[in-house]
Symmetry: C2
Subunit: 238 residues, 2 copies
DNA sequence: CGGATGGTTGACAAGATTCAATCGGAGTGG
DNA sequence: CCACTCCGATTGAATCTTGTCAACCATCCG
């Protein structure tokens, strides 16, 4: 059977790596075709833009591979990254009419794309779909509030420690390598996520390394050596 | 007719000041009794604690009068206020099993209290109730992300400007005095909300006042004199 | 009247940002 | 295959902002 354009990036939903974690997990195997029918596969190259804040919200997405960053820009160029999306995460939870954040690929990514209208219809048809999205939204809200604590009350090293632990935890939840943690994003991304400068992020990495809490085989791979102490540094946030 | 214990603080739902804004607005006048039946009125004195983070989530609330603060504490005593609740706001959107934040009254408050179990049942009975709560949750998520920008990327004066504008806007939305804005909370609350110290908050107020953007008849009343310029300072956040 | 609480202001110090230089790896082109 | 360039990351030094500590003020309440 030839490949169709609107097949999930990973083949069919049945064989999808995030089948048990993503939105679609709300649907049984015999219901999934309804979702497949309105779905389009989409691939993004590194740093490619998927959504620009302010655009009308026409499509929603489910990430299957790679990593995305959500960011909000200030008029003068400053930028705050409000979250990183991992495979299994849903994109479009927060917004109604227009996107309130831009979305770019951190690394090459694959996602399932759905028209909002048709997805909304499906949500009304399958209550468990709505429930699952509701659950996702609540989790996102908790995480955003957790981030408020990190941004507002932690010192740079503490922020980084909390970030690494949270990332490791989420990677584990989504069944990805969680130690050593591969850091797909750049120092600039981390800085814009934690409300710091790249220099301060770099120095914080060095501090954690010198204290023996982490190892850095290279700049994009973090081995958590002493999780307990790292948690102590993070103030048990995350 | 004598007052019953589980009447809304403001009388019956029909005469409630937030009837058109709160969760209950999802129900028609002839459906509201279902909500009234599971509801208990609750009043809080200033600084009284309603919820301690970590507790199991047994009840959810709808605020009818006053103001609440949501906060998360660090083991060493540092505190981040993640949000202020105004009349019409719902309490319990983010959490599942346990509360992830503490809740205290900023000023004397009145609220409708619902057992989670029975509320959940009602939510399943009245789809519009669920939809409204979903909408509330999305709005809360957007606001939390907005706060991430404020906390992560704005300078102190900018933070305060953004805070005052956002508060004024929300007060207007909830049909409360929006200019001059009554500041129910203390400088310490504002500091813990914006990730600053009380001294820096105080200095920022003084700066905005000296620039002629606001007037401060007293410490708890802010008149926005030059909204446009204040927005410029805030970087059009909020 | 006096004490307590919350707010403002000042002086100082600590810490992060800024600016600048260096390093290292990846990719390119000769 | 190697040299070169470019980009990201790290490190150092100076600056500047914010936090800290302290004093002072005003108001409220007993």
């Amino acid at each position: 059977m030839p490949e169709r354009a609107h097949r999930p990036p990973c083949g069919a939903c049945a064989e999808c790596g995030v089948r048990t974690m993503a939105v679609c997990a709300a649907l049984a195997d015999d219901e999934i075709s309804a979702l497949e029918r309105i779905m389009t596969a989409r691939r993004l190259g590194a740093d490619e833009t998927l959504v620009v804040e302010g655009e009308t919200r026409k499509r929603v997405y489910s990430l299957t591979e790679g990593m995305l960053r959500l960011s909000i820009a200030l008029p003068d160029g400053r930028r705050q990254i409000t979250g990183f999306l991992l495979p299994g995460d849903y994109l479009g939870l927060a917004d109604d009419e227009v996107y309130t954040a831009s979305v770019e690929a951190v690394v090459p990514a694959a996602l399932c794309s759905f028209p909002v209208r048709e997805m909304d219809a499906l949500i009304e048809t399958y209550p468990r779909l709505k429930d699952r999205l509701f659950r996702f939204t609540r989790a996102a809200l908790r995480q955003a509030r957790e981030n408020q604590v990190i941004l507002g009350r932690l010192a740079p090293v503490e922020k980084l420690a909390a970030f690494l632990l949270a990332l490791s935890r989420r990677m584990a939840e989504n069944k990805l390598a969680d130690n050593p943690v591969p850091l797909a994003m750049t120092r600039a991304d981390i800085a814009d996520y934690l409300g710091l400068t790249i220099e301060t992020v770099s120095r914080s990495f060095t501090k954690l390394r010198n204290q023996g809490l982490i190892r850095l085989p290279d700049a994009h791979l973090v081995e958590i050596v002493d999780r307990r102490s790292l948690e102590a540094v993070a103030g048990t946030v995350a």
